[in-house]
């Protein structure tokens, strides 16, 4: 790799960390003009920057407002680069259906997990908020999801998570999907009780969990 390529990737990464949307777009345009591989620019530039932002969040240097601004910068650069991906770049990604369960509209946590999942190379279908259990199941079947990710901040809506797992079992397709849960009132104990495959305490943890859950299948493939 030439030094200048490396330099551009670093600038993309920095633009994300520094929440600089304009810089992200400008550098992404430069990448395109110079015919540099868009896929690597996303991986080694934008996604790498978002991962650094995630670390800063873990270290309580960044908080939710900063993380949202970083993701805005990342997506702005992504919008420039995406049309220039070669078709063989678009490898078969692991698929996640994500949403906030019915009766709750707190979606900042879900949005963060979605951003970090996309950064980590998952293809994410975001159903949004206040989603009935059946819609998670239908969508997961439709797109052939690997993971169903459920979020809630409210204790009143926790039970909707159990309903998703039950419906999968009733339809005899429980083993086709990994179900992961997270949010303020959720705990490992609750995840175990409803028969989920995993619980994540925050967005970074959700990524580790998602990777671990799809890893064995990957090794076997």
């Amino acid at each position: 790799m030439s030094a200048s390529e490396q330099e551009l990737f670093q600038r993309l990464s920095d633009a994300v960390v520094e929440m600089d949307e304009d810089e992200s777009v400008a550098v992404a345009n430069e990448v395109v003009e110079r015919g540099i591989d868009a896929y690597r620019a996303i991986e080694q530039g934008l996604s790498a920057g978002m991962e650094r932002a995630g670390q800063l969040f873990d270290e309580e240097e960044y908080f939710i407002p900063e993380l949202l601004m970083c993701s805005d910068a990342m997506y702005a650069g992504m919008d420039v680069l995406k049309p220039h991906l070669r078709s063989d770049d678009v490898a078969e990604k692991r698929k996640v259906v994500i949403g906030v369960v019915e009766g709750d509209t707190h979606d900042i946590g879900k949005n963060l997990v979605k951003i970090m999942l996309e950064t980590s190379g998952f293809a994410v279908t975001d159903l949004g908020r206040d989603i009935p259990p059946a819609r998670f199941v239908e969508t997961a079947k439709e797109i052939g999801a690997d993971i169903i990710a459920l979020s809630t901040l409210m204790t009143t809506t926790m039970e909707g998570m159990g309903a998703v797992v039950r419906q999968l079992s009733e339809e005899g397709i429980r083993d086709r999907f990994k179900v992961i849960v997270g949010g303020g009132p959720i705990s490992q104990g609750f995840a175990d009780r409803i028969g989920a495959d995993g619980y994540a305490v925050n967005a970074a943890d959700a990524i580790r969990l998602a990777r671990a859950l799809v890893a064995p299948a990957e090794a076997a493939a």
């Binding site: 309580e60 407002p65 707190h106 409210m154 009143t156 303020g184 009780r193």
Partner: protein, 348 residues
């Protein structure tokens, strides 16, 4: 099981004066669980002050805790300013849409009139009725959603977070409007014979940084607390989630009692600010109170006592946040019974 020897008002007055008491004060923060006590649906509370009062008074009489809090959800004031709230038939209400979609409409927002807008009049009615029925023995409080959190319900949490970076003056404007609503409502709560109880979910370090708290939340919180102090009432301030980095600021804002979440450490908060403010917390509302068995509640309560029972400015055994609606009664009884058995000075 030991019976209480004092009324909550007697207990808190004596405790505050350093006189002997029968047990430490204890407040499992009962919200919509009160509906279960009188066998009605949570949705029936919508706009029905008489029913809210009936349920909250019945819950107080059943469990014997030390404060009644008139609270159904966090959105009452933002709804009165135009936010859309969804009321499920039998679950806690939730925010369907913020008061404005388009920031261009920000100038259309006005502070709410507590005697006219939304369901604020009905909540005030609930407070008056509760005071009529049991005000001679227990303090009745009215929940106030603080400026920064209320502001997030006016434009949406994502949008507010981005505005903090892109257009901070708009955030200040939204907090100022929310503060005006808060002050008017807090005044009406005091007129009703109650004490405002402050809740500020979004000011948490689980959401914003301590620096952002200082810039966007603290100034308004302080003015609200100054107002309440000016009316002769003391202030309990609850901020959800992680708060270690803002305890000093919460004290500086004037709070007399910090109610901390289970995501914060009671032992640490005691060391940090226990010499200046009363503390309240922090049994886990869902993992222990909702999903645990009474023995788990007993152990968690004893652990709280061990960490903070000798806190210099006093300690109120409480849940870390409002209890989930379906919290088993046995668990609420278990918290109170553990505190009764510990007696005073508390043994654990």
């Amino acid at each position: 099981m030991r019976r209480d020897q004092m009324t909550p008002l007697e207990r808190l007055a004596a405790y505050g004066a350093g006189a002997p008491i029968d047990r430490l004060p204890c407040v499992p923060i009962v919200g919509n669980t009160a509906a279960r006590v009188i066998g009605v649906k949570v949705g029936d509370f919508r706009g029905n002050g008489a029913l809210i009062a009936e349920a909250q008074v019945a819950a107080y009489r059943l469990f014997g805790y030390d404060t009644i809090r008139i609270f159904t959800d966090l959105y009452t004031q933002s709804e009165a300013m135009g936010a859309k709230v969804t009321y499920p038939e039998d679950e806690t209400a939730f925010l369907a849409a913020p008061a404005i979609d388009d920031l261009g409409d920000i100038d259309r927002l006005r502070p709410a009139d507590p005697h006219r807008d939304g369901y604020l009049p009905q909540h005030l009615e609930a407070m008056r009725r509760a005071v009529e029925q049991v005000g001679n023995e227990v303090a009745v409080t009215g929940a106030v959603t603080c400026p920064f959190t209320n502001a997030s319900f006016l434009v949406g949490a994502d949008k507010l977070a981005r505005l903090m970076m892109r257009a901070p003056e708009k955030v200040h404007h939204l907090c100022e409007l929310s503060l005006q609503t808060n002050i008017a409502y807090a005044g009406a709560i005091i007129d009703a014979g109650c004490t405002p109880s402050l809740t500020d979910a979004m000011s948490s370090m689980s959401v914003i940084s301590p620096r952002q708290f200082r810039e966007f939340s603290f100034p308004y919180l302080k003015r609200l607390i100054d107002y309440i102090h000016g009316r002769g009432k003391s202030v309990t301030l609850h901020i959800c989630g992680k708060t270690a980095g803002i305890w000093e600021s919460m004290v500086e804002a004037g709070a007399d009692c910090l109610s901390i979440d289970n995501d914060a450490d009671l032992g640490e908060v005691r060391l940090a600010v226990g010499d200046r403010v009363r503390l309240m917390g922090n049994v886990h509302p869902s993992e222990v109170m909702l999903q645990g068995i009474p023995d788990a509640v007993r152990r968690a309560t004893l652990s709280c006592l061990a960490q903070a029972k000798d806190s210099p400015k006093g300690f109120i055994v409480a849940s870390g946040c409002s209890l989930p609606t379906e919290t088993p009664f046995a668990n609420i009884h278990a918290m109170l019974d553990t505190v009764r058995a510990a007696g005073w000075p508390a043994k654990c």
